[in-house]
């Protein structure tokens, strides 16, 4: 917080952001300045510390459409929208229409016919929110699509780091774990490299996607080397639901080589912080004691920042749309 007060730029972004698109579908392709503004605006909301009480989005209808289980992301979006005065309806489509055989586009156009302002979509298939954006005329936020992207998570991670460390450029950030199956990793890679951080990816070779280095990161299959001198150690959940059984011999073997424990963390920068998008598998990717170490673990802050970041995005999309209408 003290770091933040020093930040002179803060004042400039205490007004809504205008984005270049009606949607937030992916971090890849976003301009650095846009990311920066969203983070600054989210920082402003975080400082308000729940006392928003704004009605700027009164009458604005948000549909939270989740085709996959989620608790934290859904609640976080809902709180964000409500704090801005919007109406939120949660729709869980994990079982209903899909089981009845309705196609995704039919579901989408049904929802569209109810004329919402914003659709927040989580879907197990990569690229599904892009399909929504192609066919619907409301704004779309990608709340996680398959293995592709989870843009709001990357933005909230960036805000969390920024509030703790003060800056992103030049930071050594190690993203460790199941990179192949992680949309969080992809969004973070795009965001952090765009913002000038030095990003390293650490994963067993079976969970490292091919040609990842072409995304501007360094790849390590040895965790000790991968987190050496790191300022931030970002852990990923081992996504058992996306695994096929041949990626990893066992959880205990995974923890031995790729779980974060005191010994491995000792190789990082002494002030290094630990992050995890949750939910955590304690004793698999992170030693339980480290997860609870409030001096080093930012895991709870991440959750808190999630609301602020999503407020900034929802507000920005509304602002962008209103501006487009005027023009």
């Amino acid at each position: 917080m003290n770091e933040l007060k020093k930040n002179k730029n803060k004042v400039f972004f205490s007004s809504p952001i205008k984005l270049s698109s009606n949607h937030l579908l992916a971090i890849e392709g976003m301009e650095k300045s846009e990311i920066q503004k969203l983070i600054e605006r989210a920082d402003y909301f975080a400082n308000l510390d729940r006392h928003t009480n704004t009605k700027v989005l009164q009458g604005y209808v948000v549909l939270n459409v989740f085709f996959e289980n989620s608790t934290r992301t859904r609640v976080s979006f809902e709180l964000a929208a409500r704090r801005l005065g919007a109406e939120v309806i949660n729709i869980s489509l994990i079982n209903s229409s899909i089981k009845k055989g309705e196609s995704l586009l039919d579901t989408a156009s049904t929802l569209n016919a109810m004329r919402p302002d914003l659709l927040i979509v989580r879907h197990p298939h990569s690229g599904a929110p892009l399909l929504f954006a192609d066919y619907l005329n409301c704004s779309i936020i990608n709340a996680g699509d398959g293995r592709h992207e989870h843009p709001t998570q990357a933005l909230l991670d960036a805000l969390t780091i920024k509030r703790r460390v003060g800056y992103l450029e030049g930071l050594k950030i190690s993203i460790c774990g199941d990179i192949a199956n992680s949309r969080v990793a992809r969004s973070n890679i795009h965001l952090l490299t765009t913002m000038g951080a030095e990003v390293r990816c650490v994963a067993p070779s079976t969970l490292m996607p091919s040609n990842l280095e072409n995304l501007g990161v360094k790849c390590f299959s040895n965790m000790k080397m991968g987190i050496k001198d790191a300022d931030v150690v970002m852990l990923l959940r081992l996504q058992n639901e996306r695994m096929t059984g041949t990626e990893n011999p066992s959880e205990r073997e995974y923890f031995k080589f790729f779980g974060l424990d005191e010994a491995k963390l000792a190789l990082a920068n002494p002030n290094a912080v630990i992050m995890h998008p949750g939910p955590m598998n304690r004793g698999v990717e992170i030693a339980s004691a480290l997860a609870d170490d409030t001096n080093r673990s930012l895991i709870k802050t991440q959750v808190e920042m999630g609301v602020a970041v999503r407020m900034s995005i929802i507000e920005a999309l509304n602002h962008t749309k209103n501006n487009m209408k005027k023009n």
Partner: protein
């Protein structure tokens, strides 16, 4: 008797390398004459005569499309008609349709049902194994007697090495080729019986990493090709790899040909005209099997076409309904339409100066006939009048809205060339307005 006279047409006959401007006369189902200056009076005594001014146009034997999938919702007669409109006078259909083409009676039935004088001729690949598990050999001898011209498991690889060995050995005995869709199903994740179920969606590499789609490594193709070539050597079989798509496989086939094995392969337009970057917008029209590969693989396909390693070009037609394609990429169906763009996309290789016109026509006519041991298409006196008339240089744009099958991976592509007429058994199977306007009499 009806005579059709094509005045001053460029005759392109890859069988004899004949390439000259002549007058061509068709009578009944045969070519009556190819000569420099046909006197219409000669044959005018009895019967009707149609004369076309074909100045600036080209004729070649009708195209043979050696790989067409007939989808669940497609009607064979309708596809025959569309194929004829696009210059295909003979096509080979795959056995993996419903019901499966895996016994002699169904082969016979489809052969008879599809025999219509002015529609594209239908040839059939029989199913190499009785069911999807690929473990029991079908009655390939009996199917062969009924007219099956080769054996394959369609869009599934013949996986079991022992089954493949025996199939090759048996097929060699009856002098029929085995056609393989070369893909290691465990690597590509298509082996549903496997406990390690993944579901390969596109070529593995940087693009699959960016898109978060599951990659199929390109070696999944060559692993099967290499194994099969060893079995072809062991058995002396004629072995043909369908829709080849990677540099490694093409290299392996080049070497096999050098040592004299009876190994051949074909490719399809997407593999020489597109690469994996087309998928960057998750456009499901580009979800194909094999998947679109890297640019280096595309260049290898072109080199393979140029040096003759790749024998033929097939449409690999696998049309899909809009409903199954308007889905998230992972859930969308695999395949794209092809019969309407086969000729145009092959002609693009000529316009890009990659191959000459004679070679392009060979890849679509005489070469597939050689691979499948079919009668060699030719334009010569007393030969069967299966041919096409086209304009090489007519500018056009491929537009999905004007096509009868979907999805095309070539929507909005600028092309040059147009089929103006198709004759099958001497009968007019297709004529467009441009050719109608050229009727003199």
């Amino acid at each position: 008797m009806t005579f059709t006279v094509l005045k001053s047409i460029k005759v392109l006959n890859p069988k004899t390398y004949f390439n000259d401007i002549s007058d061509v006369v068709i009578c009944n189902d045969k070519i009556f004459s190819i000569c420099k200056d046909f006197k219409t009076e000669v044959s005018h005594q009895d019967g009707q005569i149609n004369i076309y001014d074909c100045n600036g146009l080209t004729m070649s034997p009708g195209l043979i499309d050696m790989r067409v999938n007939i989808g669940k919702t497609e009607n064979l007669t309708a596809i025959q008609k569309i194929a004829a409109e696009n210059g295909i006078t003979s096509m080979v259909i795959l056995p993996n349709q419903t019901p499966k083409l895996n016994n002699p009676s169904i082969i016979d039935h489809i052969k008879r049902q599809s025999e219509t004088p002015n529609l594209t001729k239908v040839n059939i690949y029989g199913a190499a194994t009785k069911d999807d598990h690929g473990l029991e050999m079908s009655e390939i001898g009996l199917m062969s007697e009924m007219g099956a011209i080769g054996f394959t498991n369609g869009n599934k690889s013949i996986k079991n090495s022992l089954v493949m060995r025996r199939l090759m050995s048996y097929a060699a005995m009856i002098n029929r080729p085995i056609i393989q869709h070369a893909e290691d199903e465990d690597l590509s994740g298509l082996n549903k019986a496997s406990t390690t179920l993944i579901n390969g969606e596109m070529n593995e590499g940087e693009i699959s990493t960016r898109l978060g789609l599951i990659g199929i490594p390109s070696c999944a193709e060559v692993i099967i090709v290499e194994r099969d070539i060893r079995l072809a050597k062991l058995t002396g079989a004629s072995y043909h790899v369908a829709h080849i798509s990677t540099r490694d496989s093409i290299n392996v086939i080049r070497e096999a040909k050098k040592i004299g094995l009876k190994v051949t392969c074909d490719t399809a337009p997407p593999y020489f005209a597109l690469n994996e970057t087309s998928l960057l917008s998750y456009n499901t029209a580009f979800k194909l099997s094999p998947p679109l590969r890297k640019e280096d693989d595309r260049l290898a396909v072109i080199e393979g076409i140029q040096d003759g390693t790749i024998d033929a070009i097939a449409s690999d037609h696998r049309a899909r309904s809009k409903d199954t394609k308007a889905q998230p990429f992972s859930a969308a169906s695999v395949g794209a339409s092809g019969i309407e763009t086969l000729f145009l996309m092959t002609l693009e290789l000529v316009h890009k100066k990659i191959i000459d016109l004679n070679k392009a026509i060979s890849l679509l006519t005489i070469n597939p006939a050689n691979v499948l041991k079919m009668e060699k298409p030719s334009l010569e006196k007393d030969g069967l009048a299966d041919f096409i008339i086209f304009d090489e240089n007519c500018h056009d744009v491929i537009n999905q809205n004007n096509l009868k099958t979907s999805p095309t991976p070539f929507d909005q592509r600028k092309i040059k060339g147009k089929i103006l007429g198709t004759f099958i058994n001497g009968q007019l199977a297709h004529i467009n307005q441009m050719l109608k306007n050229r009727i003199i009499k």
